[in-house]
């Protein structure tokens, strides 16, 4: 009962705000290159999709994002594991990692485009670079956060360090790793778009840039809309995997229960 009422209310709220936006823009005659009315954004969206233009750029950006996400998080996972397990690796590598981490990675995008060109490679590398850090840090923390008593239990069973890693430390780090993946997914999208801004032949970021030159503001709005939906879907995808993997995690259970209550 309550949930149907909430659905009705949120639909009303959406229609109200979009309608209000349309009405205000028309009433005050705001020029379309400052703020286009929603009807024009919808029109731009329809045109873009029906001509196949958006789909072509969207698939390109999506490919960059996913490849960057996979490469960056795989590297973060491996390096985070190495740092967590080996004192020498930590000693020699960690200062650089900290230094590099405090740097806003998007600032590297121009350099990377110069080095790797206007094509796919530079975008994937930039996305991977930004996606890499949350995984690195979370893997490190996760692998080191195994409960002392659980480690004692494993030791009392005469378990080897290798067994303690595979049977305890690794599964124990999964909540941290999954939280890292959550962030890395969105970071990869940011990395891909920023690199496209700097210089690209294809992609939604490049499309926004060229629309900006042409003062096509409603087109830009339509792409922002696509990007937010893409971000949402990517995030949902990671969350679905997370729910599968972390069915045993208390925080995950709470979330599942909350969703059950609100549904």
């Amino acid at each position: 009962m309550r949930s149907t009422r909430n659905v009705v209310l949120s639909v009303l709220l959406f229609c109200g705000s979009v309608g209000g936006w349309e009405a205000l823009v028309r009433a005050f005659e705001v020029p379309a290159f400052i703020l286009p009315p929603p009807s024009q954004v919808a029109l731009a969206l329809w045109r873009g999709f029906s001509s196949g233009l958006y789909l072509q750029h969207l698939s390109h950006t999506l490919l960059e994002t996913l490849l960057g996400f996979i490469a960056g998080s795989a590297l973060g996972l491996v390096l985070g594991t190495a740092v967590a397990l080996s004192r020498p690796v930590e000693f020699f590598l960690y200062p650089y990692i900290v230094m590099f981490q405090s740097l806003p990675k998007v600032a590297l995008a121009p350099l990377i485009v110069v080095w790797f060109g206007l094509g796919l490679t530079s975008k994937v590398i930039n996305a991977a670079l930004i996606a890499f850090f949350p995984l690195l840090v979370n893997t490190m923390v996760g692998l080191r956060s195994a409960d002392e008593e659980r480690v004692s239990l494993m030791r009392s069973l005469a378990a080897s360090e290798r067994q303690i890693f595979w049977m305890l430390r690794l599964p124990n780090s999964l909540p941290f790793v999954m939280a890292g993946l959550d962030v890395a997914m969105i970071f990869a999208l940011i990395g891909a778009i920023v690199a496209e801004f700097v210089g690209a032949q294809k992609g939604l970021g490049m499309l926004i840039q060229s629309m900006n030159f042409n003062m096509d503001v409603s087109g830009q709005f339509s792409i922002l809309l696509i990007l937010s939906v893409v971000g949402l879907l990517l995030n949902r995808g990671v969350m679905m995997i997370r729910k599968r993997v972390l069915f045993w995690d208390p925080s995950e259970k709470e979330r599942i229960e909350q969703e059950r209550v609100s549904a």
Binding site: R150, S152, L153, R155, S156, L157, M167, D249
Partner: protein, 258 residues
């Protein structure tokens, strides 16, 4: 029954802190026979957990020696089962998988131990719970899983470190009864640490009384109450005599008041 399950000779353990050394254990000697149930009772800080960690091979002594079944302890060994104060279950493993953890670690082959696991789970009253996950179980049930896990590889002895300390009083009494029943059936050597005097007297054949600073064994008391002991035994005058005697030792030594 001349074989000694546990033999401890002049065992000392010193912890170094910033202000110098602290003697957690000072020249402790005792022995435990095969199949005996021995409880160690003492206030917190008397070194009883340190003693158990040494017996489990998790800590090495500063001086003296400790041996299990005739061989000196040089590290963790596979012929003991340890139960800690908290159940220490792995949340990503089912009850059955948690019980089989020692089998996985020691590479003994799951298939061979599956019937034993099911029998033990039935023994501790957890039949039909093997596919559940730890969070679906109450605290007492979780600790029973931990006991099952300690028994699965058929160890010669059980080391228990305040296993029921985190449970409420009612569950605790129930678990004491259960442990007695399991022990009467399995007849394993049990080395049981607790800070509850009635629990020690109720469960044990012998009670070692420890006082802190430095950790010492001040008495070695044989409990001559017939088994199986019902909970009612706690209201008998004999039971009262034992607990009064132990409490008296603490008051003289200042262990509880300190």
């Amino acid at each position: 029954m001349a074989t000694e399950a546990i033999s401890v000779q002049h065992l000392s353990k010193l912890y170094t802190t910033r202000d110098g050394g602290v003697a957690a254990l000072e020249r402790i000697s005792f022995s435990v026979d095969e199949g005996e149930f021995v409880a160690v009772v003492g206030p917190s800080g008397c070194g009883k957990s340190t003693l158990l960690k040494i017996l489990a091979g998790l800590l090495s002594p500063s001086a003296g020696s400790a041996s299990l079944r005739g061989t000196t302890i040089q590290g963790p060994r596979r012929d003991i089962g340890v139960v800690f104060q908290s159940p220490v279950l792995f949340p990503w493993r089912t009850v059955l998988d948690n019980v089989l953890l020692p089998i996985d670690v020691q590479g003994l082959g799951r298939v061979r131990f599956m019937p034993a696991a099911m029998d033990l789970l039935a023994l501790v009253g957890l039949r039909d719970f093997e596919r559940r996950y730890p969070w679906e179980l109450s605290g007492g049930m979780q600790q029973r899983v931990a006991i099952t896990r300690a028994l699965i590889h058929d160890p010669a002895m059980l080391l228990m470190d305040e296993p029921f300390g985190a449970l409420d009083a009612m569950t605790r009494e129930h678990m004491n009864l259960e442990l007695q029943r399991i022990w009467l059936e399995k007849k394993k050597t049990v080395f049981f640490i607790t800070h509850s005097i009635p629990e020690a007297v109720f469960l044990a054949d012998r009670v070692l009384v420890m006082t802190p600073r430095p950790g010492r064994v001040v008495d070695d008391l044989r409990i001559k109450l017939p088994r199986p002991r019902p909970l009612d035994v706690m209201t008998t005058p004999e039971f009262g005599d034992y607990t009064r005697h132990i409490r008296g030792l603490f008051n003289v030594k200042g262990g509880l008041d300190a």
